[in-house]
Amino acid sequence: MLKQIEGSRAMAEAIGLCRPEVICAYPITPQTHIVEGLGEMVRTGDLKNCEFINVESEFAALSVAIGASAAGARAYTATASQGLLYMAEAVYNASGLGLPIVMTLGNRAIGAPINIWNDHSDAMSMSDAGWMQLFAETNQEAADLHIQAFRLAEELSMPVMVCVDGFILTHAVERVDIPAQADVDAYLPPFEPVQVLDPKAPISIGAMVGPEAFTEVRYLQHYKQTLALRLIPEFAAEFRKSFGRDSGGLLRAYRTEDADLIVVAMGSVNGTIKDTIDEMRADGLRIGLVTLVSFRPFPTAALREKLTRARDIVVIEKSLAVGMGGPLANNVDLALRNVAAAPQVHSIIAGLGGRPITRASLHRALRRAFVQPWEGSHFLDLNEEIVAKELHHVRKVRRSGPTAENLLRRLGQGAEVAAVLEAAR
């Protein structure tokens, strides 16, 4: 059913259609509306046979999901930012134990400095924790990916994080087609666990494993993710057959056939990039886009196949590995490793801490990539003036004070709203 609906609400309805049996979550912006919606559905009885458990922290939220999943229940939770960090130990446990939990991550920056806005730092902090990570481009895809995520998680007995851009998707009201319950039931069979804690047939889950088998346990975890490289496109194709639209998959290509330059990006920024590409195409520039949906498993072969014919690759990402550069760019480099005459990879760090990524800025950066490609990371819309002033200040004064406070003082009052309005200038 077509609805004009807040992204969080659409996701809550889609998750409800997956018939989760245990939901536990701790509120944190910008994910809160999703679990609020689910809590309401449980209370009103719209979501039956489901226990909503209020917990005291994110660590407890995922720990309860782990227990519920091990007891054979379809378990769901959601978090963001510091919340994900607070549950970090349990994040590794869920994947190490092979429990098919689905968790929404309302992508948000990580402090300090404290920041509630969107970027992909939280997802990147746990990208190697053994969870699969799928990134949504639109709220339609955000809703659909949850349905595919439960299918994928349970098929492999491995947890999935559905990554949705905080605020940009979670708080946007737009058109979403909410599937019918019967169609979701047909697509997603009831949870049939591969391991279950049952008093009638007691087993233990979570043995201590020494050097004799630790490598093998890890290898099998990795092997499962390589299986996911085949399953993700299969489930997306089946989804298309059942629901009539493209959602999910490993990646999607846009106008790449004859492209000299291909942009690679994840999440909601892809829409703005597509509009920018159409405008640049109209000016005769041969540019395309690969939207990466699956970051874990990383679709090395599929990506290589799309990228090798281009001359330049520009990776636009909302995260920074301090001291290294862009983690997505680094992963894209991996896809081109040992490729003869591989395209050059250029990195753009953009949208950190919620800074809007605008067509105007993308035009400037991408046009520059055609004529004057750069090495290393380019920080989109970096305010070089305040950076230079701060660096000067730090050199001159030993007790130069806290960086964040110094920069805010330089920007002055009212910078918050002014920044939004100045964005495209």
Binding site: E174, V420, A423
Partner: protein, 187 residues
Amino acid sequence: MFQVRFHGRGGQGVVTAAELLSVAAFREQRHAQAFPSFGSERTGAPVVSFCRIDDKEIRLREPIVEPDALIVQDPTLFKAVDVFQGLKADGYLLINSNRSIGELHLDSVTSRLPAGHALTVPASEIAQRHVGRPLPNAALLGAFAALVGLIDLKSVTAAIREAFPEKIAAANIAAATAAHAAVARAP
């Protein structure tokens, strides 16, 4: 694509206004995207929200920097924020005020717009009368429907009915309808 930017203060229903407009557009089979400016919202702080309306899928996710219409829910914002930034040369301007454009000293802004594109409407007063609280958003949407003609008043009232409990909806629909009539009557 038609882009509307709402300016107001926390507590005035600025985000709700953009959402309601998007629902009204959706009811007319259009694509619409409403989103807030994502500030840490505090009562009284300047707040911005956005609504895009198009006949095809909307992919763009940047803030609206060149609006086709500006709806200003609080005229005291002019001193704090450059609300007019980026307003298109053929754009519309709707301000919640019981004073005229001239009395607000905005002639220099409105003289750049086509005749009849800038208007003040006493939305807070209308809301006080019908809703019992000076929440101007519903009235401004009614006025917007009359000023721009892009969205029908019926769609606006249907969106309000969908969003609120019956009694509150009825009061806000009355405010939207009264503001619509006031603008339709204006020269």
